[in-house]
Subunit: 256 residues, 2 copies
Amino acid sequence: MQTPENETNYSASKYRTPDGAPADIVIFTITSTEKPTAKKSLPNRELQVLLIERKQWPFTGQWALPGGFSKETETILESAKRELWEETGVDDVHIEYFNVYSAPNRDPRGWMISHAFFALVHEDDLARRRADDDAADVRLFPVEKALRMELAFDHRQILTDALQRVRQQMMTTTIAKEFLPDEFTMSELYQVIQTVVPEFEDKNFIRKITSTQSRKGIIEEVKDRNGQPKLSNQYSQRAAQLYRFTDVVPTLSIYS
Amino acid sequence: MQTPENETNYSASKYRTPDGAPADIVIFTITSTEKPTAKKSLPNRELQVLLIERKQWPFTGQWALPGGFSKETETILESAKRELWEETGVDDVHIEYFNVYSAPNRDPRGWMISHAFFALVHEDDLARRRADDDAADVRLFPVEKALRMELAFDHRQILTDALQRVRQQMMTTTIAKEFLPDEFTMSELYQVIQTVVPEFEDKNFIRKITSTQSRKGIIEEVKDRNGQPKLSNQYSQRAAQLYRFTDVVPTLSIYS
DNA sequence: TCAATAGTGTCTTTAAGACATTATAAC
DNA sequence: GTTATAATGTCTTAAAGACACTATTGA
């Protein structure tokens, strides 16, 4: 089917080709800080995004999303994972492709078609982060603050889109688990959801998740080896039931 | 910030760059054929995908998704819309980006990072379709058949992914309207959903959509100028209420 | 004791699910 | 009357929503 005669007719060099295919990553984490007031209480949580300060042209000195150019020998996803590893020292976390950015002149270096991912990382995993060759500084910013900053390239748009996607995924998938330990209390889960989606509110949250089918099998109570309910009093005087996510993948429908 | 001194340090030509950024489009339509048996009855519907037969190397003679190379002066979305226009003569339809395909050697012509879209087109709009320069033939195939064919490049994977995405969107968004007239009966809607998502079944479908909040405001009854319910007897002896989609964008949550 | 979080009781309303029944009108 | 689709009646069960109330235990 692929005859040499035909092959000679094609030459990529006849066409203008892209100058690069970068992968940019919006790395989200939730930081926890102790409430100064109380002894045992739920921490304050805040959604943060990792930015780097550029030390090279273009946009030298400005904050930007971490990213780097894809190589011919890897997929874009592999580039993104490599970049995530280089930037934070973490792998094996939730990373998800969400959009492509290809507006002409979005990058003064040339025709750059950028592939945007978001990653969800535990705060603890980011301890190892450090400045690398391309960055003068690496730092976490509260997303609300980052959205008000003048970021390099079209990175504010990318961040905006990423945030929208993560919020949607938070409500429709079980990605909340990426920000939680394996076993967690309902209060923790509720707090994590609210940290990502501030407008989420449900006065009967515990009741609703607890009362059978509503949770659709996505969450189950943790029992100890004796089959007794496993509790935690990490955040409260009264011990709370621990839950975990099951492997069930929820499916939603507007036509119920 | 962007000093000439720094600019001179960057040269795209130092790096291996992609040989092209194609956009490939999975064009879906639903064909309707009269049931031979009955006089007035719902048509048989089938989900179809548009494929082209390649007349050039590589994969000469094989069926492939329509697509083409993106230009430096346009976004990838614009490329896809241009390609859709060239291939089918339609514009202004639902077109949506869903993934990137970047496996090394996925294209024998070189390092090609492909951007995949799906488009949903009314059967009527495809009347104008025709073969163009790149294609020996253009034809609709039932998706189930297309999935069993040996398509060019990684197009079977792209088609598989597109179908999965369209099925998910069919259940969670109002894209059913892309396959329906502005005003439609509940039977038509139900049939369109089932055409795309065969396993969907709901014995009480009409009842459920009809009984208030369940439809979450996404669908409303059509009234005539006198405020009377507007009916259609196109598909049945007994006239059926017509409905339309509102502009409400449904939001779903696993945490209800 | 109180503070902070966890969890239950109770009642009302709404929706889901099943399934039989009735309605309409062309033929 | 038959046929094909449209729509309602009725009953049962499950879930949502509100909100007051009780529980636990360290400080």
